[in-house]
C-alpha cells in the first residue's frame, strides 16, 4: 500500500513539474475566442489553461484581494491601470492586444428599427441592458458613447445594469429587455439576437484590450509563454475570426 502511495505521489510530482496550470483572468467578452485559443495551446504545450471569466472590473478587484491569477486580460485600460498603479502587474509584459466595436442588439424576432443612438430614446424601447456603467468596461464604453451623443440623461432611466457584458446579451436573448448595448463580438456568437445598429468608429470611445503578467504569478515563465502565444499570428487569427480587431 505504501509503495502504491509513494508511486502515486511521485507521479503527481512529475506531472506537476512538467505541466503548468496557468490561470487566466479574462474579460467575459473574450470567453469564446480564448477557449478556442487555449484548446490549441494546450495541445501544443501540454500546459493546462484555466479561466476565470467575468467583468474586468470584478476580476481586477479579485486580483487586488490576492486571487491566484497568472495573467490578466482586461476589456479596458482603466482596470489594467488600476492594477498597474498598485504594482500588481509586470509593466514590461503589458500590451494592448485587441480592439472591438459597440453594437445595439435586439432579439432576433424583434421588429424594432434602430438607426441611430437617438432611436434608443423611443418609447418602444422600455429597457436597455448594459454591463454596469459604473465600472464594467462594456458599460463604461456604452455610457461614454451615449454621453458623447448627449443622450445619457434620457437613456439612463431605462438602463438595466448587468454583472458583465454577457449578462446584458442574455437579457436581450430572453426578450425581457427591448435592446442592449454589447460588443460586436458578443452579438456574433448568439443566434437569438441581431445587430440593429453598429456604433460608428468616429462616435465610439477607443475600445482597447490590454493583457499583462500578474506579478504574484507562481509560474511566470509558463505564463509568459502563453502571453507570447496570445500575441502570435495563430491566436490573432482566432481573435479575428470572432470579430476582434488586432492592435499593434
Amino acid at each position: 500500500m505504501r509503495k502504491v502511495l509513494a508511486c502515486a505521489l511521485l507521479l503527481f510530482a512529475v506531472i506537476g513539474i512538467q505541466a503548468a496550470e496557468i490561470t487566466v483572468f479574462a474579460a467575459a467578452s473574450l470567453t469564446d475566442s480564448l477557449k478556442e485559443i487555449a484548446a490549441s495551446y494546450e495541445k501544443q504545450s501540454g500546459d493546462k489553461i484555466t479561466f476565470n471569466l467575468g467583468a474586468s472590473s470584478t476580476l481586477a478587484r479579485q486580483i487586488e484581494a490576492g486571487a491566484p491569477a497568472d495573467i490578466f486580460f482586461s476589456a479596458d485600460e482603466a482596470q489594467m491601470d488600476s492594477l498597474a498603479k498598485k504594482g500588481l502587474i509586470d509593466p514590461a509584459t503589458r500590451k494592448s492586444r485587441l480592439g472591438n466595436t459597440l453594437v445595439v442588439v435586439v432579439a432576433a424576432d424583434s421588429t424594432l428599427q434602430i438607426n441611430s443612438a437617438a432611436d434608443l430614446t423611443n418609447a418602444a424601447v422600455k429597457q436597455i441592458a448594459l454591463a454596469d456603467p459604473k465600472a464594467v468596461p462594456a458599460g463604461v464604453y456604452a455610457k461614454a458613447w451615449l454621453t458623447q451623443q448627449q443622450l445619457w440623461p434620457a437613456i439612463e432611466p431605462k438602463v438595466v445594469p448587468t454583472e458583465n457584458v454577457r449578462a446584458a446579451l442574455a437579457a436581450v436573448e430572453s426578450g425581457n429587455v427591448e435592446a442592449g448595448v454589447v460588443y460586436k463580438t458578443d452579438a456574433g456568437i448568439s443566434r437569438k439576437v441581431k445587430v440593429a445598429y453598429e456604433v460608428p468608429a468616429k462616435d465610439a470611445p477607443d475600445i482597447s484590450y490590454p493583457m499583462a503578467l500578474v506579478k504574484e504569478s507562481k509560474q511566470p515563465d509558463a505564463a509568459k509563454n502563453f502571453l507570447n502565444y496570445l500575441d502570435s499570428k495563430e491566436a490573432g487569427d482566432i481573435f479575428k475570426k470572432f470579430g476582434f480587431v488586432l492592435r499593434d
Binding site: S57, T58, R61, A135, V160, P161, A171, S174, G175, N176
Partner: protein, 222 residues
C-alpha cells in the same frame, strides 16, 4: 447616509413587508388545510411549498425567470393581455421575496394550527358558531404566537433575499436594488464605505426584528 441609501433601505423594508402581507392569506389557508384536513396530493403540495427553502435560491430564481419572462407562460400572458411586465421591475422583487419566504410562514403556521385543541373548535361549533367565526375567533387567536413568529421569519428572510432576486429583478439602482444587492454591487465596484453603511443598517434592522418578536412573545406568555 445619503438619500440613495435611504431609498434602498426604505424600498427593501416596504417590499419585504408587502411580500409578507401578500402571502399571509394564502399561507394561512394552506397551513390550515395541511394541519386540519386530509386530501389527495397533500404530501406533494407540502413538499412543493417547501422547495424554495431547500433549493438554491438562484435555481428558484431561474424557474421564476423562465415562468415570468416575456417568453414564459405566465409572463407572456401578463405582457400580452395586460401590458404588464414583471422581470426587471419592482414586481419581480415582490415575486421573488414572496416565493422565498412562503415556506417559512406555512411551516410555522401549520405547527401553530396543529397545537390548537380541536375540542375547543368543536365546542364553539356546538354553541352555534359557523366555520369562519370559529376560525377567526378561536383558531387564529390561539395560534397567534406561531403565526406572528412565522410572519417575522418570512419578513426577515425577505429582507436578506439575494439569489432569486438578482435572477428575476436584476440590480437596478433606484428601482429593484435591495440592501443585499446594493452591498454586493458596492463591494464589486470597490465602494466599500457605501457597503459598510448598508451593512450597519441591516444589522440594526435584523436586531429590531428579533427584538420585537421577543417582546411580542413575552407579552403573550403573561
Amino acid at each position: 447616509m445619503t438619500s440613495d441609501e435611504w431609498q434602498i433601505v426604505w424600498f427593501t423594508a416596504w417590499v419585504s413587508a408587502l411580500s409578507t402581507l401578500v402571502i399571509l392569506p394564502f399561507g394561512l389557508a394552506l397551513a390550515w388545510a395541511l394541519a386540519r384536513r386530509d386530501w389527495p396530493g397533500k404530501s406533494i403540495v407540502e413538499t412543493f411549498v417547501s422547495l424554495p427553502l431547500v433549493m438554491p435560491p438562484v435555481a428558484t430564481g431561474l424557474i421564476l425567470l423562465k415562468l415570468f419572462g416575456r417568453r414564459g407562460g405566465i409572463g407572456g400572458f401578463l405582457h400580452d393581455k395586460f401590458n404588464l411586465d414583471v422581470i426587471f421591475t419592482w414586481r419581480a422583487v415582490l415575486l421573488a421575496l414572496s416565493v422565498m419566504s412562503l415556506p417559512l410562514l406555512v411551516r410555522a403556521a401549520r405547527v401553530a394550527f396543529e397545537e390548537v385543541n380541536p375540542r375547543l373548535e368543536q365546542i364553539a361549533r356546538t354553541l352555534g358558531a359557523g366555520d369562519w367565526r370559529v376560525f377567526f375567533t378561536i383558531t387564529v387567536p390561539l395560534a397567534a404566537r406561531g403565526i406572528v413568529g412565522g410572519m417575522l421569519l418570512a419578513f426577515a428572510r425577505a429582507l436578506g433575499e439575494f439569489g432569486a432576486t438578482i435572477m428575476v429583478a436584476g440590480s437596478i439602482p433606484g428601482k429593484t436594488q435591495t440592501i443585499s444587492l446594493a452591498i454586493f454591487q458596492n463591494v464589486q465596484l470597490g465602494d466599500d464605505t457605501h457597503a459598510y453603511r448598508l451593512l450597519g443598517v441591516s444589522v440594526v434592522l435584523a436586531f429590531a426584528a428579533v427584538w420585537c418578536s421577543e417582546l411580542f412573545l413575552r407579552r403573550r406568555k403573561k
